[in-house]
Assembly symmetry: C2
Homo-oligomer: 156 residues x 2
Amino acid sequence: MTESRWLNREEMGTWRALVAMNNRLFARLDEELARAHSISLAEYEVLVQLSEAPGGALRMSDLAERALVSRSGLTRRLDGMVEAGLVCRQACPSDRRGTLAVLTERGREALEAAAPTHVAGVRRHLLDPLSPAQLEGLGEALRTVLARLEQDDPGK
Amino acid sequence: MTESRWLNREEMGTWRALVAMNNRLFARLDEELARAHSISLAEYEVLVQLSEAPGGALRMSDLAERALVSRSGLTRRLDGMVEAGLVCRQACPSDRRGTLAVLTERGREALEAAAPTHVAGVRRHLLDPLSPAQLEGLGEALRTVLARLEQDDPGK
DNA sequence: GCACAACTGTTGTGCTTACAACTATATTTC
DNA sequence: GAAATATAGTTGTAAGCACAACAGTTGTGC
């Protein structure tokens, strides 16, 4: 850090494009989901993670990690989803400290209803504008950067 | 949306890598800036925008747009930065409705002190892990997606 | 030149999130 | 097997943000 090379025009542009693209992309996807199905992108992610888990159930900590949210954040997020009937809490049979978040029938229906909207949004805003080569390059770059980030900070 | 093609493994992987990479990258950069210089990435962005403006000053609405934050959000963000002495507010001479956010000497020093940390973080976590070809591809893809997003929603 | 619309920045309010503290339970250590 | 330690989930609290409403100012149409 004592000797820091400045960002050139290309590098600065890439960084700013990342920031701006993120801002717009996630705002757009969230808005489309909220408008069409009255759920947030964050809630949608919870539904997806649960639907992919055996029995549609996950421990709170496990779900928090997969949904990229803090445990306390997940507690609050789930509160709303329980009230909406999308999920329910169950005592964990093998660990009495634990709580299972469980997808309800209504939650599964909500996911199946919302998924096409979400997928269409990801396609329209992210995948479709890119050529196959660009898309492959993007995926490769994202995975490379992510791998390095996870390697540098394995703790979380 | 009536006929929605599902995401294949590659597409799903790219989407999830984007989400995960974002989460980690911005958290990391924010944390490094907070630890080393006691400012947030959001505050840093305000300093950068002001430093690039003539006279180190911008109208609130203009600054909000550049910093990708709502006008009310910027009002609150600036409150803290004024209290920290990084910026000050001045009446706009040409429009009595307006307020100028102005970079102070202390703010410019803070920016110059923090910039190496930020640049080093962007390099280490985003740019360095990529080959020149990957980096060029990433930049191209990001700009393409961003351009489409802005085209679809020119209002903002 | 006056009524009306548009714009500027701030404020009230509510939502979402994270951190730290807390209770309850599980695991480890000796 | 008892004490110390670790873990699970929730809660208090605070920070950050957006939307809507507001007062003050500017622009427009006639």
